[in-house]
Amino acid sequence: MAILKRDLALAYRQRAELMQPMLFFILVISLFPLAVGPEPKTLQLIGPGVIWVAAILSSLLGLERLFRDDFQDGSLEQLMLSSTSLPAAALVKVLVHWLTSILPLIILSPLLALFLHLSEPMYWALLKTLLLGTPLLSLIGAIAVGLTVGLNRGGVLLALLLLPVFIPLLIFATSAVESASMQLQYTAQLAIIGAMFLFSLALAPFAIAYALRVSQT
């Protein structure tokens, strides 16, 4: 709990840095109408995919700072030596990351759905997939961040490691929105995303803790 409070306060004091992924998110999405033309039909077709790809890319930007500061000023080492269990602490940090750098993107998403002319059922499906799927980005992303935190230039490497792993999520999420656009059921896709989320929620904290221990030595 104390960690949650501390990290949220820290994040609040670095508002400017937190804004960057959000701006990136909006900018990437507004590039697409400029690149493929402003036809509402085309935009509606590519919209869900564009929003998801942009969300994945901007979550990568935010992920990098997940353990970086704590690693550099040594508070991560303190955390490892203290009596709190490391997996639980890692889970809290992941939660903070999700709250501070992904939740704002989800809050922004109605605006972007307007930009891309998504219909109403499509937007609701998109929102559900985002709510259920983005925690997965933070959880699995944190494993790779834990592994690369000790490296000087981990940024590009992080993308190389994580993007292939995120592909199934992208496929299921966009296909859910596509089903919604045709007025079809999409509970199956949501259920699969939910299953992946629960599975990683159970295992990822331990993997993150292990990754951090590897980096610390």
Partner: protein, 252 residues
């Protein structure tokens, strides 16, 4: 089994084991590949639909089969290394990774060459092609993570975690892309009860898979020896080995 396996945590023992196994794998592998390729390319009957072009199957399928098995082997090595802290296991993992990446690349290239006359396109966003491409990225990710660390002990552990994350993801990726889009023909060897291939075509194919597996094993053994020597450069037995080979080359 554990008692039997344990001595190989020592690098010197493993090095000599590799040395002993290497000629078997390399000679046998080359012989089998030679037989299988000649048989497959020259003597196997022609396909009634795809005529001669199908013969690339004798390169394409072995490489595709091996790409997945090498990834599994790499992940198993990573798991052994992480759980029992066996140093040689990480070396095995890193010796396997580039072999696997190469084989995956070969299967993609031959697949493209086969796709052009059959489907009329070099590349199609089909399920198997896509999952193969992602597999290549997973291999490259593990390799580049390993290379990014200075301390190889740490690098092995980090790359090992990533390899295991990848292996958990692999089936999910496989089924998700399959569900997403499919053009590739279904499996035609794995149905052993009634293969959809005549035996005259199947036997050279199975042989060439075996040959590829043996040659990959040989390359793995070579790389493993190399890795051990590089990591253990300052150990007395490596120095002794180097002195011995230097002395024998001087004697000639």
């Amino acid at each position: 089994m554990w008692k039997w396996l344990h001595p190989y945590a020592k690098t010197e023992r493993t090095y000599h084991l590799c040395q002993k196994l290497l000629p078997w794998f390399s000679l046998l592998g080359l012989a089998v590949i030679l037989v299988a390729t000649v048989w497959g390319l020259a003597f196997a009957p022609m396909d009634y639909q795809q005529s001669e072009a199908y013969r690339i199957i004798y390169v394409h399928v072995p490489s595709a089969v091996l790409s997945k098995s090498l990834y599994s082997a790499m992940a198993i090595a990573a798991f052994v290394g992480l759980v029992w802290q066996v140093k040689t296991s990480f070396m095995a993992m890193m010796a396997l990774a580039p072999v696997g990446a190469t084989v995956t690349f070969v299967s993609l290239i031959t697949g493209a060459a086969w796709g052009k006359p059959m489907w009329g396109t070099w590349w199609e966003w089909d399920a198997r092609l896509t999952s193969q491409l992602i597999l290549l990225f997973l291999f490259l990710g593990v390799i580049s993570l390993y290379k990014a660390f200075e301390d190889k002990q740490q690098a092995g552990k980090a790359a090992g975690v990533m390899a295991i994350v990848g292996v958990i993801n692999l089936p999910i990726i496989h089924y998700s892309v399959q569900w997403w889009n499919t053009l590739h023909q279904g499996a035609s060897i794995m149905k052993f009860d009634k293969p959809s291939m005549p035996p005259e075509m199947l036997w050279p194919l199975l042989l060439s898979i075996l040959g590829w597996a043996l040659v990959s094993g040989a390359i793995f053994l070579l790389r493993m020896q190399n890795e051990i020597l590089q990591r253990e450069l300052k150990r007395p037995w490596v120095v002794a080995l180097a002195n011995k080979s230097a002395a024998s080359s001087e004697g000639k």
